[in-house]
C-alpha cells in the first residue's frame, strides 16, 4: 500500500514510517520540519499541509492511505498558528483524501480530548463529549480537529476513516506532553491530589497506528477500520508512582503556589488549563479498539518508565 504520513518528522511519525517501510509499504511523508536522513525508501516532502504544494503531493503521488499526525501539541506554540495548522490542516488533508481517491485515513488524536475534572468519570468511552473544551481551553483546537476528522465518516463515506485517541506516549525518544512534564529531576504535584495517569510506550503507539491502518474488516468486504477508538496501554498508575518509577522527585505544591512556581527552580512550564490535568485523571477505556483489531500493548508500565528513565539518565 502507498501510505502518506503527515507530520512524518515527529518522533512517533518516524517510528510509524519506519515500521510501515519494514512491513513492505511504500511510504511518503509531508512535514514542515526536515527529516535529514530518512531510511532508503521513505520520501519526505517538506511542505506545510495547508498549502498548495501539499495538495500536489496528493495529486501526483496518489497515496492509497493517509496517516494524519501533523497536529501541533506544544502548548507554548503561538495559539493562532496552532489553530490554523490543527484545524485548517485537518480540513485540507481530509478534503484531499476525498478529491484524490485515498481509501483509508487515520487521524491520530489524543485522549486529553475528554478533559479532566472533579466530576469526570474514570474510563471514558468513545461516545463521551469532549469536556476538555471546558476544562482545558488551550486544547480546543485539537478537540475540534478530532471531531472534524470524525465527521469524515459521514461526509466522505468512501474513505475508511479511523480516529484514534491515544493516551500519553512515553519511552526512550523523550518526546511528547508527558515526557516534557517528567523531564526535570523534580516534578510538581498539586498538594492533596494524586490522579491516575495512563500512558503507552512509543513503540506500542506506533504499532497501534500501523495495526489500525492494516486492519481489514472481514464482515464488511475487507474494508478498513472505521470509527472512533481510544488507544491505551497498560492500566493507569497514580502520578506519585509514575514519578517515583521514572526516578524523579515529586514536589507537592499547594494549588496557589503551583502556578506561581511552574517554569522556575527546574520545574516544567505548563499552560494554566493543565492544572486540572494534574489534579484529576484522564483515563480511557480502549476495549473497543482491542475488540475491533485485537491490538494490545506489549510494554507494561514499568518497562515504559524504565526505557524513559534510562534514556533521560543517559543524557
Amino acid at each position: 500500500m502507498k501510505v502518506l504520513v503527515t507530520g512524518i518528522a515527529g518522533a512517533i511519525g518516524r517510528l510509524v514510517a519506519t515500521r510501515l517501510l519494514d512491513a513492505g509499504h511504500e511510504v511518503i511523508g509531508i512535514d514542515r520540519r526536515p527529516w535529514y536522513h530518512p531510511p532508503d525508501g521513505i520520501r519526505v516532502f517538506q511542505h506545510d499541509i495547508r498549502k498548495r504544494p501539499a495538495e500536489d503531493v496528493f495529486r501526483t503521488q496518489l497515496p492509497e492511505a493517509l496517516i494524519h499526525m501533523a497536529t501541533v501539541t506544544h502548548l507554548t506554540h503561538r495559539s493562532e498558528d496552532r489553530f490554523r495548522i490543527n484545524l485548517g490542516g485537518t480540513q485540507a488533508v481530509f478534503d484531499h483524501c476525498h478529491t484524490y481517491g485515498v481509501k483509508r485515513a487515520i487521524f491520530v488524536g489524543r485522549h486529553t480530548y475528554y478533559g479532566a475534572g472533579p466530576d469526570s468519570a474514570l474510563y471514558h468511552t468513545e461516545s463521551e463529549p469532549p469536556m476538555a473544551v471546558h476544562t482545558f481551553p488551550e486544547l480546543s483546537d485539537l478537540v475540534a480537529a478530532d471531531l472534524y476528522a470524525g465527521s469524515a465518516l459521514w461526509r466522505y463515506p468512501e474513505v475508511d476513516t479511523a480516529v484514534l485517541r491515544i493516551c500519553y506516549t512515553l519511552g526512550p525518544l523523550r518526546q511528547g506532553t508527558l515526557a516534557s512534564f517528567l523531564r526535570g529531576p523534580r516534578v510538581p504535584m498539586v498538594l492533596g491530589f494524586d490522579p491516575l495517569f495512563q500512558f503507552v510506550h512509543e513503540l506500542d503507539a506506533a504499532d497501534a497506528i500501523c495495526t489500525a491502518l492494516g486492519h481489514r474488516d472481514g464482515g464488511n468486504d475487507g474494508r478498513g477500520l472505521r470509527g472512533v477508538f481510544n488507544v491505551a496501554g497498560p492500566p493507569p498508575v497514580p502520578l506519585s508512582v509514575m514519578i517515583r518509577q521514572a526516578g524523579r522527585v515529586a514536589v507537592p505544591l499547594p494549588e496557589l503556589a503551583f502556578n506561581l512556581l511552574l517554569g522556575r527552580f527546574g520545574l516544567p512550564r505548563l499552560p494554566p488549563g493543565a492544572l486540572e490535568h494534574v489534579k484529576h485523571p484522564v483515563v480511557i477505556d480502549s476495549s473497543a479498539f482491542h475488540g475491533a483489531t485485537g491490538w494490545q500493548a506489549k510494554h507494561d508500565e514499568d518497562t515504559t518508565l524504565h526505557d524513559f528513565r534510562v534514556a533521560t539518565d543517559a543524557r
Binding site: P118, D119, A121, G192, F193, P238, Q245, D302
Partner: protein, 282 residues
C-alpha cells in the same frame, strides 16, 4: 483522612493479611485499575477497625445475605451527620465476610474538589457517584454501596434519625440495566453517635462542603455508642431499565419499605425490645 504518604499511619499485620485476601486485580505496585492502593487500604482498615471493634459497640446481623463474590448493591439508610454509616458498612464487609470484600461507595461530587479527601477517597476505591462508575464497577463484579437518600440523608437531625427522606431512583434503573441483586440494609445508632442539632449550610459552602453538622458539644465527633447494622435478604428486581417512572417508583418503594422494616427492627434490637434471633430479614 490524610494520605499515608504524608502521615504514616500504622498497619495491623492481620489487617494487611486480609487486604491480601481481597479479590481485586492489584498490579505489582499494589494498585488496581481504579487506583485502589493496597497500602492505603491496610492503613484505612487498621484505623477504622479500631473504631469498628473497640470504640463503638457494633453488632452486624445478616452478613450471609451479602454475596461473597460477584456484583451486588448494598442499599441502605443514612444515619449520622457525617458518613459514619458508610465507614461501618465498609468495615463490616471487610471484617465479617470470607473472603473480605471492598464495598465501594458512590461519593458526593464535592469530595473530589477537596485536597487530600480527593486523594484518599480515590486510593480506597470510593469513587464519585456517577452512573458511568456505577455500571462499570458492577460489570467488573464489584460490591457497590449506595445511599439513595444522598446528602439529604446525612443532614438528618437527631430527632429525625430513624426516618427515611426521599430516595433517588437512578440506582434502580442501574440495577435493572446490570441485573444486579440489591441487598437492603439498615444502620441504627448513627444519630446517637453524632447527635446533630443543626446544620450550617452557609459555613459549609465557604469550606466547599454541602453543610457543617453541629452537635450539642459543637464538633461532629462520634460518641462511643451502640450501632446495629442489619443486612436483609437480596432482592432481584424484574423489569427493564427503561420502564416508566411509575414502575421504577414501585421498585423504589418496595426497597424503601424493606429498609424501613429493617430499620424498625434494628431500633427495637438496639433498645432490647427484640432479640437477634427474631429478626425478619424479608
Amino acid at each position: 483522612m490524610i494520605p499515608a504518604s504524608l502521615i504514616p499511619l500504622p498497619i495491623d499485620p492481620q489487617v494487611a493479611a486480609r487486604v491480601d485476601a481481597l479479590e481485586l486485580p492489584f498490579n505489582r505496585h499494589g494498585v488496581d485499575p481504579y487506583g485502589i492502593d493496597k497500602r492505603e487500604l491496610a492503613r484505612l482498615y487498621t484505623l477504622i477497625g479500631w473504631f469498628y471493634r473497640r470504640y463503638f459497640d457494633v453488632e452486624v446481623l445478616g452478613t450471609g445475605h451479602v454475596p461473597p463474590r460477584g456484583r451486588a448493591m448494598l442499599v441502605g439508610n443514612h444515619s449520622g451527620g457525617v458518613a459514619l454509616d458508610a465507614v461501618m458498612v465498609i468495615a463490616s464487609a471487610f471484617f465479617e465476610l470470607e473472603p473480605p470484600r471492598l464495598a465501594q461507595g458512590m461519593v458526593e461530587k464535592f469530595i473530589q474538589k477537596v485536597p487530600f479527601l480527593a486523594w484518599f477517597t480515590s486510593r480506597i476505591g470510593q469513587l464519585t457517584g456517577l452512573p458511568e462508575h456505577c455500571v462499570r464497577l458492577l460489570e467488573d463484579e464489584r460490591l457497590l454501596l449506595v445511599f439513595p437518600e444522598g446528602a439529604r440523608g446525612t443532614a438528618k437531625l437527631y430527632r429525625e434519625r430513624d426516618s427515611l427522606v426521599g430516595f433517588g431512583t437512578g440506582f434502580v434503573r442501574l440495577a435493572l440495566q446490570t441485573s444486579t441483586p440489591i441487598v437492603p440494609f439498615a444502620f441504627v445508632g448513627g444519630g446517637e453517635a453524632i447527635p446533630t442539632v443543626a446544620n450550617l449550610y452557609r459555613a459549609g459552602k465557604l469550606l466547599g462542603v454541602p453543610y457543617l453538622p453541629v452537635t450539642p458539644y459543637v464538633a461532629p465527633v462520634p460518641l462511643p455508642v451502640s450501632l446495629k447494622l442489619v443486612y436483609g435478604r437480596p432482592m432481584m428486581l424484574q423489569g427493564s431499565p427503561s420502564d416508566s417512572d411509575e414502575v421504577i417508583a414501585g421498585h423504589v418503594a418496595a426497597i424503601k419499605n424493606r429498609i424501613a422494616s429493617l430499620l424498625t427492627q434494628g431500633r427495637a434490637l438496639r433498645e432490647g425490645r427484640l432479640s437477634s434471633t427474631e429478626i425478619d430479614f424479608g
